[in-house]
């Protein structure tokens, strides 16, 4: 019963919730590792293994969603927020709903995001690919099964269109979203790769907003690396040491780096928003027609 929430069985949902709650109560729910030494993330908590395939099969979530789930949960950054999210995910997933259209629905929303459209619109071929990929996912949502050759043709066109964009970072990153999404939603990595591409665009937009460049990032790295080699300010640790080094060597760079830290701390909004949107979509999913009901 692929993509039928909790395989249509309330006992499966109860088991999932019990496993998750027991890890949260014991303080063994973690971001990483998935499953080791009694600690577990969302995957490990539910299947007692680092096994996304098992997670999908035992609880009825689409494999593409299971593959992207850690990325979404980890974006919550602090455990109480992550625990609230994963608890809500399980509690608000109705038993027996059809989850097969959730991933294409999310991909459509990512491809139709105004930020992405504004960027792909600057390059005719990228925009054509975006529209075609979006149309394929909409056909899937409508119940069609587009031929794999259709997916392949548009995927290759999207990769070529991405490669044709040079020295224009934001549209290039937007085009990487389009090519990543150019797979049927049954492909395990499609949501993971598409969200990853969205994350890279989010980072670049953040860097542009605060005027932080790769050259500055590289300069920070080199100062830190040199200090590691010569043992300077070894009495300090971690970020405190980096900031002290920058304050001493390049106060202007230090100011920029503090700004960068502050803004980068806010990154992940995109993933978190997608996570909550997925829960809303799951709540609205239609009830699956199970084989026995069909026979009746």
């Amino acid at each position: 019963m692929a993509d039928v929430a909790f395989l249509g069985d309330p006992a499966v949902k109860a088991q999932a919730l019990a496993r998750l709650r027991s890890h949260i109560a014991a303080g063994t729910f973690v971001f990483f590792p998935a499953w080791a030494d009694g600690k577990a993330n969302i995957i490990g908590a539910l299947v007692e293994a680092d096994d996304k395939q098992a997670f999908a099969e035992r609880y009825g979530y689409p494999i593409a969603f299971a593959t992207a789930l850690e990325m979404i949960v980890n974006a919550f950054k602090v455990l109480p927020d992550a625990e609230e999210f994963v608890g809500a995910l399980l509690e608000r997933t109705p038993v027996g709903v059809d989850l097969s259209r959730i991933v294409p629905q999310v991909l459509v929303s990512l491809l139709a995001s105004p930020d992405v459209v504004a960027l792909t619109g600057r390059y005719g071929e990228v925009e054509r690919c975006r529209r075609e990929v979006l149309a394929l996912h909409q056909r899937v949502i409508g119940g069609e099964v587009p031929d794999r050759k259709e997916w392949k043709a548009i995927r290759m066109a999207a990769v070529a269109a991405s490669d044709a964009i040079v020295d224009d970072a934001l549209p290039h990153l937007a085009s990487l979203i389009v090519e990543a999404a150019a797979w049927p939603a049954t492909m395990r990595s499609v949501l993971h790769d598409t969200l990853g591409a969205c994350g890279r665009l989010e980072i670049q937009q953040m860097m542009d907003t605060i005027g932080w460049t790769q050259a500055q990032e590289s300069r920070v790295f080199k100062i830190r690396e040199q200090a590691e080699a010569d043992g300077r300010m070894a009495e300090l640790e971690g970020l405190d040491r980096v900031l002290a080094l920058l304050d001493h060597d390049d106060p202007e760079l230090a100011r920029g780096f503090r700004k960068r830290l502050e803004h980068f701390g806010k990154l992940g909004d995109h993933y978190r928003t997608v996570g909550w949107k997925i829960i809303e979509l799951i709540e609205q999913a239609p009830k699956a027609v199970l084989p026995r009901e069909n026979a009746d």
Binding site: K52, K149, K152, R155, M156, V159, M187, R188, S189, D193
Partner: protein
């Protein structure tokens, strides 16, 4: 999907009639582990055109040295006993597909 070692690499890869996508990986490499299910799918999808072969560089360091493996996951296409292309690091499924398509050819 087969695993190759220092003993049978030449038989399995270099003398293979089909193009071979060699996956250099290690048990401690998380990105390699993440890539594994994708390679399973790829092996199935391109079963007629190529073979996918895995090489654990931890167990077979001489192969890593022979092919100058300095980072993993490293994917290398071997055709007619010669390396044709390689890509290192995490790669999206679409890029991987394009890499295989360009260097092996598909349906």
């Amino acid at each position: 999907m087969r695993n190759a070692t220092e003993q049978d690499f030449d038989d399995i890869v270099m003398k293979n009639d089909k193009p071979v996508l060699v996956d250099f990986w290690a048990p401690w490499c998380a990105p390699c582990k993440a890539l594994a299910p994708t390679l399973d799918e790829l092996a199935e999808e391109y079963a007629e055109e190529m073979e996918v072969v895995k090489v654990d560089i931890e167990a077979n360091p001489a192969l890593a040295a022979r092919f100058g493996v300095r980072g993993i996951p490293l994917l290398m296409v071997v055709r007619d006993g010669e390396e044709k292309a390689r890509t290192v690091g995490t790669i999206s499924r679409s890029r991987l597909d394009a890499f295989v398509e360009a260097n092996v050819g598909g349906q």
